[in-house]
Symmetry: D3
Subunit: 217 residues, 6 copies
């Protein structure tokens, strides 16, 4: 796997998601603050005793801090999910801060369980998504500071900082556990590897190229 703070940061997010099963059905009580240590796993996290809930369960700090983007992608994702903010459990929302070095990218990926609104706080971003087959229509735009853009659920999308300075964005997602599928990592970095027969025909590339790419993810 490429050594990448962007990937590593998302990685942490995804790992947490995997262990901390979340729930996007409607809430049935004022709140159900995640009991992150529970051994009962279900489609959604179990709740803490409401009497033990405190204000800090509903808050998170540090989203104003620049992250280290010194990695291959020039990108870093800071997630805020029920792992970081337990009060989010059952409320159907999460957020992330994304830092981009100049020329940094958040590579082609999908969120299988959420739509996303992204807001540019600093710098500019080239963004886009691709509609489903067979149109494969590429809908994209260059965003400036103060611009927002929406990526519909499940579609492949990306962001890239075209500028000479750092860029910063906040994104809101319509699930407490949106999940992230990074296309290159899913295709070339799966464990174990996908058979080269599949990739060869899917991408019309030869075994040697596949072997080369599999060393990268």
């Amino acid at each position: 796997m490429a050594s990448s703070a962007c990937i590593l940061a998302i990685s942490f997010l995804a790992l947490v998601f995997f262990l901390a099963f979340a729930s996007d059905q409607s809430p049935i009580q004022d709140f159900c603050v995640a009991n992150n240590g529970s051994t009962v796993l279900l489609n959604g996290l179990t709740c803490k005793d409401p009497k033990e809930v405190v204000a800090d369960d509903f808050s998170f700090s540090g989203l104003h801090l620049a992250a280290n983007t010194s990695n291959a992608l020039g990108c870093h994702v800071t997630p805020v999910t029920p792992s970081e903010m337990p009060g989010l459990n059952t409320l159907g929302l999460s957020i992330v801060r994304i830092d981009y070095a100049p020329q940094g990218i958040n590579p082609l990926h999908t969120h299988p369980r959420a739509s996303e609104i992204l807001i540019v706080l600093e710098g500019s971003l080239e963004v886009g998504f691709i509609t489903s087959f067979p149109e494969n229509r590429h809908i994209g735009k260059v965003l400036q500071k103060g611009d927002a853009f929406v990526f519909p659920v499940g579609l492949v999308h990306y962001q890239r900082n075209p500028g000479p300075t750092n860029a910063v964005a906040i994104a809101a997602l319509s699930s407490q556990n949106p999940g992230v599928i990074i296309v290159a990592n899913a295709v070339f970095g799966s464990i174990p590897n996908i058979s080269s027969n599949i990739i060869e025909k899917s991408f019309q590339i030869n075994k040697k190229a596949i072997g080369y790419l599999q060393t990268k993810f």
Copy 2:
């Protein structure tokens, strides 16, 4: 009604919501860009012909701009909903920017159809929500720049800028049409007025006090 940019701005949002019926069920196509001029009203907006959809349908500009908060509440809300960003239709998300003058408040209110995550971009904010009856537990905190806080769906909540400088926040809501019920306006500013018999017993105040308050909203 008090002359207030905060209220007026939200007002526009709410007006738009009322006319532009929205839909928070799951999307059943890549996107359903709002056809804001349609005469067919339903639980959700009808869609534009997909062939006429353009990138600008998914974007919005100007969230970096300070709004005018010279009003009684010292607060201004700039909404981003399907009226401003038609591509949001059916995706279950919306956002707002909120500006607060020093001592400005976003008064006690509820969103009947959404939970909300708020992120402080500038300044500090005193925030809180109250749980449902009979606990009426007040869960609150002072947030600094970079802090986030979540308000569960339907609960009464508020923000106040305690500081000497302006404050700015971005908030994400889990509905394209969250709605807003400002408690004071609903109680004292409804058209026509609620009978003083109701308010008297609900608030344990006398008719004279009610009459006074009804002139304010």
Copy 3:
């Protein structure tokens, strides 16, 4: 807090709700009778072993009995939720009986998680709800015996017995745990109190009036 059977009765309901987390997603089995003593808390109640389920789990008695309305509001609410009728769990419904003394009111409140249909069994009731900001439209009517009225989810509403005799209503709600937010109690009776700075600006009233009101709820 005002000594009120209406409030106390709802209070019990709400307390139960808080402890007995409920679930309004669709049922996935014939029934999931609430296991009210479970220590596993989730977005919905866990179920009893189906082999231990009995007919009484699906029933409740006493809705024909007049309740004591000798309290400040002249109102009493008798709830039927999964605490009282465990078979309701996962079915998305609950009911209440409401008794009103002459001039009694069910004060201004919202249900954050349910719409409500009310049916007048005895006497007459003045009822109404207020739409969201900025319309704050007040839609109300005087109901006679045999009349029904619907209050949409999350909106502020009330009932008042204008008549010289007792009134009785049955109401059905579209959640097993609708929740209730009594406006005055949330604003003036929260624990701890909301800062007077917030209330002052929200309601345009001075600190002295706030202090007076906070002694009442």
Copy 4:
């Protein structure tokens, strides 16, 4: 078809449902009052212009009136759905009043799209439901005035007035369009008839008995 006020009354309800397609997804605006005359048919009714909405759209009268139960079943159902109360549209609830003559029954039926809570206002009722195959467990009880009982969605159930006097019930259903499948009418009264080959094996009865029963429904 048997000449039955109970069946005829439900019949009206069902007919209305069929023409007036309803929507039980969550509401996305304060209300979406049914535009009952619309030619646009969808999964849910289209809405009236909110400016034309009046208080009567949210109300219905006459539920205190005894209905005529002089029919073969000794039963009459008075429905309150978006056809009778347009404001119910999108709110996920409906109600009915049911009158039973002595020995009258609401015959074996299911609601394909709703759970039901029934409250006995007058007299007594023998009620029950049958769980799904293979248990086919019959869970039933005799209810007295003031008793409530819940029937889970989709299960076969019935009510019968065992007493010497009339009985009256109010029932709330968790859909604006619950639908009703009367078992005997579906099996023996369908148009066109179900082939006797199917019924013969399904019910282990012979063609002559089937022919006889088909004349009854």
Copy 5:
């Protein structure tokens, strides 16, 4: 109860459903493989530790094998639900294989929690469903090999093999736990029996006929 492989096979399915409470809300993680031995019962199955999940959790074998249809109905159902394929948990789908002897039937039944698409793999099938009251419209057709047909959720439906050879179908259902209510078994085979008073009026048949039928189911 009639000795029937069709009924017995479905019976197993239903039994499993009853014990293995399932969940059709949207998944909130990549998967939540059913922990079939869990003692925590809820509206949906709890999950295995994701680290213990294996490929076999997502697969099932044997759907190409003809089942024994030597029973009164000439029908056999082979279910694939989370009990047989634990990976189905939370995904909102299940399938069955149905074998029909010549003249075999899958008797009149409903699925309270799923719509169904049936595909004929071998032979031909006479199929149909009946709409709800009061239309009771019978919509049916004879299907040949390669034909598909859809039965809407909750409606009474059937299949019958009219041909001289065996028939085979695969059906997909829109719930992991659709449930099955076999009309004759619910009416005449419930435990304990439904009072003959109810059946007599519901079906307009006399006590003797009822007694006879109750011996059959």
Copy 6:
């Protein structure tokens, strides 16, 4: 774009989806048969007048017929959606038949709005899916005739016929409009092309390789 019957067939499916906006919320009437020619576009198809509905609206023929797989991928998909079977509208299900030549593949793709169960009718298939980031766990298996496998919603998956003979599968999907994103086509075949800057970093390949691949999709 590669000339491929597999892609072309799916293409037709997808095109249809795009024009025929579908609805996966719960049905609110017995059926809502798609009015495929309607000019009102919404999140779900509008319905035909129920009086004009016929049995053929619920059926589809030809799933037993082998399709032509003489194309680059050796694969052909035959869809059954509301376009082909209008009665599917609002029921949350669709199916496809997939034909595979020896060594044929259904290339790496996701369904943004559905989980899928696949059943092997003839031959054998090597299948698998990849979990989300950062695990990127590849869960796969070789299926024989009569085996079934489930692919969770939104995850990248594939099928490949490893055998010397044709293979045939039926798959059921949990949406009437699952959508399909073919990874290679989204990445290298979008219109207009994704900037090579994005692909270069996402896949760690150079501009020349990208240019080469873009000629293939």
